[in-house]
Symmetry: C2
Subunit: 331 residues, 2 copies
């Protein structure tokens, strides 16, 4: 296993400890419940924004905690939903008079624990709103999902809801906004390699030297089909077509584009892929008003990419522009 | 070959085109000479800061062009120095009455082309200053190097010189500052896997399933020794010890720490590694005033990491704090 790891059982804990050590003045780490939160939250004049899902997708979602993004994140083990009692503690910790907004990626495991945690918190008198994120166009149902999967589009739902919360939006307004953003964001991914959770010690699926999985899930769930490797432009064209047709995006739409590396794909390849996405957008009459090229939602060290398109309007653009500060940064 | 690529001969060009398309309002791309520059440079009231070295290390160095960082970058093909005439064109393009500062990573190929380009530019009456970067403590001479190699510490030399240039420093002051920063920065890396240049189509070296290369160069040059894989903390301890002893860093020093992924290492592992670096710093009495965790100087899709320590003083800290804007960003 070619990974930097100590005892695989401590992988998530040690990653969180490193994150906390690197951000001592802004983040708080609660090891008993796997929670990373902003050190200055909660506040009764702002809805708290939280998320909790399996680890292995970093920077999603523990490295998205910070001003203008998540107020707290509560991950499970690699590719596993967090324990229900941790979710409950996370809601309680972020309790605010204005309420708590929980952004849930659509996986059965996550939905179950957060449903139970919400019920318990509501019994304590805490207002909890929920938005389900399901931006992956690849397949309708999947290994761990009824309905579509939540993948990299999650980033845009967090960014918009968190920015609106900083500006004083109510819980009801945020639920409505989150649903709106989710309704105009679409993603599809391609994997060239598998990945290896430390605790498993072996790859989560097998794939041939000249094969790729089109429509891959972020836990290695099967996509639409397995195909022979082809050139980058052809891969982009296929994925672009699937994403555009799904909403559908139309000529004249202003969009944000995300070219997201799956963990093992370097910047060089991501920009090479972006080139073709920009060409395809131009050809399809989509105006790219914003682009995001980097690793936002990964599958450990998988070599792969996903393409996300978000249809913009004035409200969403303003929210994407709002300042935010999170642990992943360049300077 | 598990890469996103079209014709391998176009890898660098298509990556640069993607970068230019993604940053149309701030960057200018000159395909004839492989140059990416700030759209608003040169200016006669500011020294221009340039760099040109092999591709394959992205974001170094074409994705470091922007306000407060490089004014222009001129890459070669993957792991190959740029052609001399491109270097010459790059200097001419960034010509300023205050001069041009060329930050050269210490590889024989880079030094040769930039020496010749500088002589030609000086014959044209352009003032050119040079700083050689050689922060890698692993080996004294190497496959492509007389003296030490320039690796991830390059980032800090660029950041400080570029910030000082924005504040009006002279060429002479910048050469002196660059040498000073280079004199207090030290790096060593470890590779778990090799990497594959698209044009070669096969890995640049072979490494066993349970082996790692300690002191790896960023072009796959041999390091200090090859060892059996071990746990992350042990790897960090070894690298930390080598880096600290080299300057040497001393108890009470304030430092910046960079944990740099080599292209195929995800954030999860980088933060797990940062945890141990922070512990080692605490044990050794080093105060970590700043940390940088991410992929800054890569070797294509190599799974690996390097650790850089920079000894801080008031001047360097202020320069690291200065605002900067480059293509790689999160928001």
């Amino acid at each position: 296993m070619k990974k930097f790891v100590n005892d695989p059982a401590n992988f998530v804990r040690e990653m969180m400890e490193g994150l906390a050590l690197a951000n001592g003045s802004t983040l708080r780490w609660i090891p008993e419940y796997n929670i990373i939160s902003r050190a200055d939250m909660p506040r009764n004049d702002k809805v708290s924004i939280i998320q909790g899902s399996g680890s292995g997708h970093e920077p999603a979602h523990i490295m998205m905690v910070g001003k203008g993004m998540l107020d707290a994140a509560c991950p499970g083990n690699v590719f596993a939903a967090p324990p229900m009692e941790y979710c409950y503690e996370c809601i309680k910790l972020m309790k605010s008079e204005r309420g708590v907004l929980n952004l849930v990626n659509n996986y059965q495991g996550d939905r179950m624990v957060w449903d139970m945690a919400r019920e318990m918190a509501e019994a304590d008198g805490i207002k909890v709103g929920v938005v389900i994120i399901d931006d992956d166009v690849a397949v309708q149902n999947s290994t761990y999902t009824v309905g579509r999967r939540g993948v990299a589009g999650n980033w845009f739902v967090i960014k918009c809801c968190a920015a609106a919360a900083e500006r004083g939006a109510t819980l009801e307004e945020l639920v409505s906004l989150g649903k709106k953003v989710n309704s105009v964001v679409r993603t599809m991914g391609v994997a060239l390699t598998s990945c290896t959770p430390a605790a498993k010690g072996t790859a989560i699926f097998e794939i041939g030297d000249d094969a790729m999985e089109v429509g891959i899930g972020i836990h290695g769930e099967p996509g639409r089909f397995r195909a022979k490797m082809k050139q980058a432009d052809g891969i982009v064209d296929d994925v672009f077509d699937a994403v555009v047709k799904d909403l559908p995006f139309k000529r004249g739409d202003r969009v944000a584009v995300m070219v997201n590396g799956m963990g093992g794909t370097p910047f060089s390849e991501l920009y090479l892929l972006y080139r073709r996405v920009a060409q395809d957008c131009a050809k399809g009459g989509l105006e790219v008003a914003r682009n995001y090229v980097g690793s936002y939602c990964t599958s450990l060290e998988m070599a792969g990419v996903s393409l996300t398109l978000l249809r913009l309007d004035g409200e969403i653009e303003k929210l994407l522009d709002a300042p935010a500060e999170i642990p992943i940064r360049v300077f």
